[in-house]
Symmetry: C2
Subunit: 438 residues, 2 copies
């Protein structure tokens, strides 16, 4: 198939879109295409997810159950674990994770494995788009050579490449996959034409850029900006605490400046699938050319220290009541990495819990959205059911996530001691005998 | 005078407001009060400024000439060098500079001297507000003891204190003194009442906070945020350059994200009266309590290195044309620290010029708003008149400030070589033979 034929197929809505990886990025995207009447095939290694999708069952918070169900019933969306079915697809969109290993080195194995699957099973004349966040040059230097090697095809003639970063913000009520402007960076003019024609059908607004590497850098910049600013405010919050300054009041007042300021808030640390990771892809590639990224490095240090610092805060609060950490019962409210979502990936609350447990505290947690969670050492934590008795008996209750369903007033009333990391207790300025604020 | 009497005087518009320091903060503020029919006395050490104000002559870009003139003619605004006239004032607003010395230690001498003048000359029952940017605790720990010592009065009984940070952004077309929300942090309830009554007459929107130190921290947070983000993008710009990525395109694409991102742009460094200074007030006070501010420190390092790095960029550009820096004529376009203003304080362009001069380049500059400028070593630089011959004869032309009056196309056409630090040459993506981009 030539690029013209592919374009014409896309214009007629006759293409089959293969989405590789049906997680929080892939599934919403698959549904966005399918609801426009485009045939979508999800290729996913988890058998459970494949079965759920094919049964019309949604498992991602940002996807509407009824919409997914309708797409499946109308035959527009199906899933498979069989990589050979990649051969049915005219378009392949890679939405697999790119984690960091324990040494903050990007783990490219999911992308590489997807590329091998594509290369071995693709037909000639397809369009391949990578959405996984990764370091600049990945599309050209990782995806392209693997696909060429495995398929024997040539990029720009037999297939076309693009990088288009996912911008999914789980729990965001205003911006979902379809109405968040999408950056698309095709490799070459033909790839860009196909990218714009394809994504333009499912996404309301596109922002084309001149190359995949620019698109790769865009995503890194967005999240490096966030990492750096959250780290900055976490550091300033500690200083402010030492100077009897309520950092939350400072931030809200600074927000009254109508230009040149954007508010970030402190907390137990940085979590989620993007902000703690993305900047370190860039650091990795920078090290390869002997370039030190001092701002990312400094931010990384603050973030690494944050769980210890928060554990210390809790310890100081207990100490003021004459209690050691050792043997105290500490109840953490919220392990989700941000408010009102059910995701505990890279959760800073978990890291604080681990630190307190190391100091021999009796650590409990409650999260209405996360009944159990496995930490990075493979330990399984099971949440408790929140009762007045539990709150009353805890030596310290810690607000780690700002879930809006928490009955803050009631919890503070029942608790012996509260450490408030998320400015939940508005009635207290900096701290009083019972409430410690970050 | 009791606080009630002072409040009633303010309500009746009968107070005399003394503004100490008639610079880019004090003069616009003085005019904002005077145009509301309030009697304003400017107390200013520069005889030239006193004469100009009393002659109805404006010297600050953000003040309207006609408005100042009218205020003076109506007898609402006058200036004096005589500190004893502080005794005529019911309200005193301190708008003096707080520079850093060469070791980045805050120079508090202007604030201290203003406080001594106030303490020695004030009458009982006045309200004193500090607007100079400074480290948190200054109002309580510097202003209060000096005024009490010199006057024999007692804060909270004989006079009231407030910190209200200036938010002047020179050259900002949308936000001037009157329509920029103003943070006010009175020391105690009475001070806050007076502060709100007073400032509310001249400023459209106030944002009261619970203490002077919160207000002090607000200003530092605003500008630390800017320092850190400009430093971040300056660092990323260098890396992007090495990776053949156009950072300007990346930033514009990242701006298409409708939440959670604010764009900052790279350049020759950080200039002006606030951003390069304010964060280091905080670093100073933090060091006093053994607290290291790693983000500010990292940002400071990047900023310190930026002039060298830019000099190197220019040197590489010359090198590609087979020229050494030594003996080359380099024409810098713009020494103002930002576009379309006439202010070269802490100008990064000047630092780059000095670096190039050290490497024996023949350094020239042109700035339509700044005919001459004195660098930090006391050396006077005189701008040239921009001619085609000058552009043609220069070995390199450097865009250092994005003045909108520059005829970029014409300059690029005439020049042998252009180093574009401000993305002025839109027609070039990253670089071509003639144009080097940051």
């Amino acid at each position: 198939m030539s690029s013209k034929e592919l374009l014409s197929k896309i214009e007629k809505n006759e293409e089959t879109v293969g989405v590789i990886g049906l997680g929080y990025v892939g599934l919403p995207l698959a549904v966005s295409f399918a609801k426009k009447g485009i045939k979508v095939l999800g290729i996913e290694k988890s058998e459970k997810k494949v079965l759920e999708v094919n049964a019309g069952q949604n498992y991602i918070q940002d996807v509407e159950d009824a919409v997914l169900k309708a797409c499946v019933q109308e035959g527009k969306l199906s899933a498979t674990g069989d990589a050979s079915r990649i051969g049915e697809c005219d378009v392949l969109i890679i939405c697999v994770p790119t984690p960091l290993d324990h040494f903050k080195k990007p783990d490219m194995s999911f992308i590489e494995s997807a590329c091998v699957d594509i290369g071995r099973n693709m037909k000639r004349g397809v369009f391949i788009s990578l959405e996984s966040t990764t370091y600049p040059t990945t599309t050209e230097d990782v995806v392209k050579p693997i696909v060429e090697r495995e398929s024997g095809f040539k990029e720009g003639e037999d297939f076309w490449l693009c990088f288009s970063p996912e911008r999914v913000d789980p729990g965001n009520k205003d911006y979902k996959t379809e109405n968040t402007p999408k950056v698309v960076g095709g490799l070459g003019e033909e790839a860009q034409k196909i990218a714009v024609a394809l994504y333009g059908k499912a996404i309301q607004k596109l922002y084309p850029v001149s190359s995949p590497r620019v698109a790769e850098m865009v995503k890194i910049l967005e999240n490096t900006y966030r990492l750096v600013n959250i780290s900055l405010i976490n550091e300033l919050a500690l200083l402010a605490g030492k100077m009897d300054i309520n950092i939350w009041e400072v931030i809200d007042a600074a927000k009254s400046k109508p230009y040149g300021f954007q508010a970030f808030y402190p907390g137990p640390g940085i979590g989620g699938h993007c902000i703690p990771l993305d900047p370190f892809y860039l650091e990795y590639v920078a090290k390869g050319i002997n370039f030190d990224l001092t701002m990312i490095d400094a931010a990384g240090r603050i973030n690494n220290l944050q769980p210890y610092r928060i554990m210390n805060k809790i310890s100081y609060a207990l100490n003021r009541q004459g209690k050691p950490m050792n043997g105290s019962t500490i109840l953490f409210l919220g392990v989700a990495y941000k408010a009102d979502i059910d995701d505990a990936r890279e959760s800073p609350a978990l890291l604080v819990m681990e630190e307190c447990a190391k100091k021999r505290a009796n650590v409990l947690y409650y999260d209405p959205y996360i009944p159990e969670v496995i930490d990075e050492h493979g330990k399984k934590w099971t949440g408790v059911v929140l009762t007045d008795e539990l709150i009353e008996n805890a030596n310290c209750v810690v607000f780690t996530t700002a879930h809006s369903c928490f009955d803050v007033e009631h919890i503070v009333e029942k608790a012996k001691l509260v450490v408030d990391l998320k400015n939940m207790v508005k009635s207290v300025n900096i701290e009083d005998e019972k409430v410690f604020k970050l």
